[in-house]
């Protein structure tokens, strides 16, 4: 089976103060359908840039293929869930935020729009908030709606850029469990960036650790059976391995 996402020779150079700075240099990656890929790495290693390239927001060298087709810009087959809570349009209610892109895809039938909306809102446990405006919701609730908006479009890949990084620990754990459940129900591939090793091990079916310059230091299947808890067999050694690699790259980066 060929990979759903195939990245060949990806290079991304940022131009700042006439000094060129290669964030990603010749990165190759394949992601299979249904995988939950968690990417860890120190700040500035190119994780977010990689995700933005896949989303089609950045001009970059190299090839990115989704389902065999080369991507040329943003598309609804790859939906990004940003870290920022304010990604919902504040002038639209929760349901209109979700239906906005559906309408643009040509779905006009009201009953169908409502059915899809109520279905995805139930999945993120936000049913009953259809008529709320985003400013009436808490940060965690906004992220749930953003995930629902992504799910409604049935994208091939959901891209998540530290979506829970700014949440409190309790909300974060709850949302992790919910995303895990959703990923097991949906026929969708996830690429999830996090700084949090625990989050990566709990969610990912595959774990990747990036080093500055976009080098992939670790790329491994997650061997731990789900649901993962700190007492799961193998959790400790895996955590140690990731932590050591993360610390090493961070250390190397600082010296």
């Amino acid at each position: 089976m060929s990979a759903l996402l195939k990245i060949e020779g990806l290079c991304k150079v940022y131009d700042d103060d006439s000094r060129e700075h290669a964030v990603i240099d010749d990165l190759n990656l394949e992601v299979a359908q249904g995988e939950f890929l968690c990417i860890l790495g120190p700040s500035g290693c190119g994780k977010t840039t990689l995700l933005r390239c896949i989303a089609g927001f950045e001009h970059c060298k190299g090839k990115i293929l989704v389902d065999g087709r080369e991507i040329t810009g943003p598309g609804t087959d790859r939906i990004m869930v940003f870290q920022d809570f304010n990604q919902l349009f504040p002038w639209l209610t929760v349901e209109k935020n979700i239906q906005f892109a559906l309408k643009r895809q040509g779905i006009r039938d009201r009953a169908r729009l409502e059915a899809i909306t109520s279905d995805v809102l139930k999945k993120v446990k936000m049913d009953g908030h259809e008529r709320d405006y985003p400013y009436q919701l808490s940060g965690g609730m906004k992220q749930r709606v953003a995930i629902a908006r992504a799910l409604a479009l049935k994208p091939a890949i959901i891209l998540m850029d530290e979506p829970f990084a700014a949440l409190d620990a309790i909300t974060r754990n709850t949302l992790q469990q919910e995303v895990l459940a959703i990923s097991q129900q949906e026929n969708c591939t996830f690429i999830f960036i996090t700084h949090n090793i625990q989050e990566g091990i709990v969610l990912g079916t595959r774990l990747m650790l990036m080093q500055p310059g976009g080098k992939i230091a670790i790329d491994t299947k997650n061997p731990i059976a789900r649901p993962v808890s700190p007492s799961s067999p193998g959790y400790g050694p895996l955590w140690d391995r990731l932590y050591a690699a993360l610390y090493d790259t961070q250390h190397a980066n600082n010296t």
Binding site: A55, G56, F57, G73, P74, G75, T76, R78, I79, M80, F82, D84, N86, Q87, F89, P90, W91, F100, A101, R104, Q105, Y133, P134, Y135, Q136, L153
Partner: protein, 268 residues
Amino acid sequence: MTKKTPLKGIAEKLIFVAVILAAWEIVARAHVFGARSEIIFPRLETIARAFVKNFVMGYAGVSLWVYLFNSMKLLLEGMAIGILLAFLFSGLCMVSHGFHNVYSLVVAVADLLPGVALLPVVIIIFGVNPGVIVFLVVHSVIWPMSRNLIDGFKSVPKLYVEAGRNLGLSGAGMLFDVYFPAAMSYILSGLKVGWARAWRGLISAEMIFGIAAAPGIGMYINQMRTNMNNAEMYATLVVIIIIGLVVQYGILNPIEKHTVVKWGMRKL
């Protein structure tokens, strides 16, 4: 702290107005300015009678309604053209860097020119006709409105634009579905400034170059001044104030309440 009810807000304003009117009446009755007092501070009752007289009898047999209608017609024409052009040019600024560069200069220069200062030139070119007033209103609206629109479009968070692109928006769709609502606070501020400038510009122009083909409210005030009908003059100022209040509280505030306030983007 108790919650502020709309009724309390109205009561505060009414008390303020009552105090101002009472002070006026006291000054009027006290004849503070001696013989001139009746001209400078006519009594409220005199102004109220003049107010009614303006509409019933008017000047030279033409009711103030006619003047008012003429002014409003030219004002609305000018504002519609000005707002549309502001949207068009500001939209183009978002599409073309070159256009933005040149248009910024045009706005910076033109916004500083008082419309009344342009009147002589405009009249030489177009002659004395109602079009001159429309031109002036367009001039008053288009520049502040453009400033606000361009500032508003530039302040649209990158996040909304990227989320919009991700959901399949581009070009006109992005402009209407993301840039306009996201810049709504700025658009409304632009409307407020534009409307006020237009209204003031219109009355100034009518006072200086009253156009016989379409005599407006500014011309009416000027005629009252010429004839020393000061109570009528004050009564006409009251009409101008009432129109301003109707636009502010009857049109602009409700628009604000049903958009940016409802969306949590601004407090009332």
